[in-house]
Symmetry: C2
Subunit: 171 residues, 2 copies
């Protein structure tokens, strides 16, 4: 199981970036996202995507960060530009264990750096937690997202020009 | 040369996501970002990052999309969940040519699908233009971002716990 823990989410300021984090978690192979702040709107949005596009992705908001971390039985990583290089870090992780990936917004308290088994950087330049999560999951799963089937009511057919959509939705 | 053209940027709604797009462009190997809407604030933010963290990344805002596209001498791709699969698309691109990568916000007018040599999808699931740009650049450059040196005044030293920063900044 791969879980993402989004900490420090501020409903107004972070709504779009956190939505991107959740969609990336789903598309690149995580099973669940926990969002620290209670946010029913984001939950509904993500659940609506899951309903249309398929898969078994879950979302929980308003969680207790420390409780989740303390009860976690697998590995814990924290994505940060200060962390260990991505390739080296991924090589140290046992993919047979469950994995919790902590993704911060803005400044992250020292607790999360300390509690993670590994702090992992996707390059040591400032960029985006959305990109960091996507690249981390890409490397950790050996690009399994390319082959993943979601069996949704809506399926997109790859297309060099235009849009091809297969839909089982009834309006 | 690799350029990113961010279209449809709405100053209030997209400021954080467009900032992430610009930072990802810089960190993953693009040379310049063009943002359709004039936005001095985002320009200053990105230039401030470049000044501190190094590299030769440029930003222009308030550009004429069609003028840039019409005068572009290299290849043009448009990132969209409806496009050709990433690996297949990258194999069709000549990396010796300049490349313009169009990145939309929300709904993209048909013109951009038509004018692109290739529409490219990073998976056919809804997720994020930030993640799509990072993964596209990763594959297109064969992960050159891992080895890229920015020679900035601030350099982060990878670290499993905590933060190590080398700074040449004077306060």
């Amino acid at each position: 199981m791969i879980a993402v823990l989004r900490i420090g989410h501020r409903i107004d300021r972070d709504k779009r970036v956190t939505t991107h984090v959740a969609l990336v978690a789903r598309a690149f192979g995580a099973d669940i996202i926990f969002i620290s702040t209670k946010d029913e709107k984001i939950k509904k949005n993500i659940q609506a995507v899951c309903k249309r596009f398929g898969g078994n992705f879950e979302i929980q908001t308003g969680v207790d960060n420390k409780k989740i971390i303390k009860s976690w039985k697998g590995s814990i990583v924290h994505l940060t530009m200060y962390g260990e290089e991505l390739e080296k870090a991924v090589n140290q992780l046992d993919t047979n264990r469950d994995l919790l990936i902590i993704v911060g917004a803005e400044k992250v308290p020292p607790y999360f750096y300390q509690v993670a088994d590994l702090n992992v950087s996707v390059g040591n330049q400032p960029h985006s937690e959305v990109a960091a999560l996507a690249l981390f999951l890409d490397r950790y799963t050996k690009a399994a997202w390319c082959r993943k089937q979601f069996h949704g009511n809506i399926q997109i057919v790859p297309c060099v020009k235009g849009k091809k959509v297969l839909s089982k939705e009834t309006t």
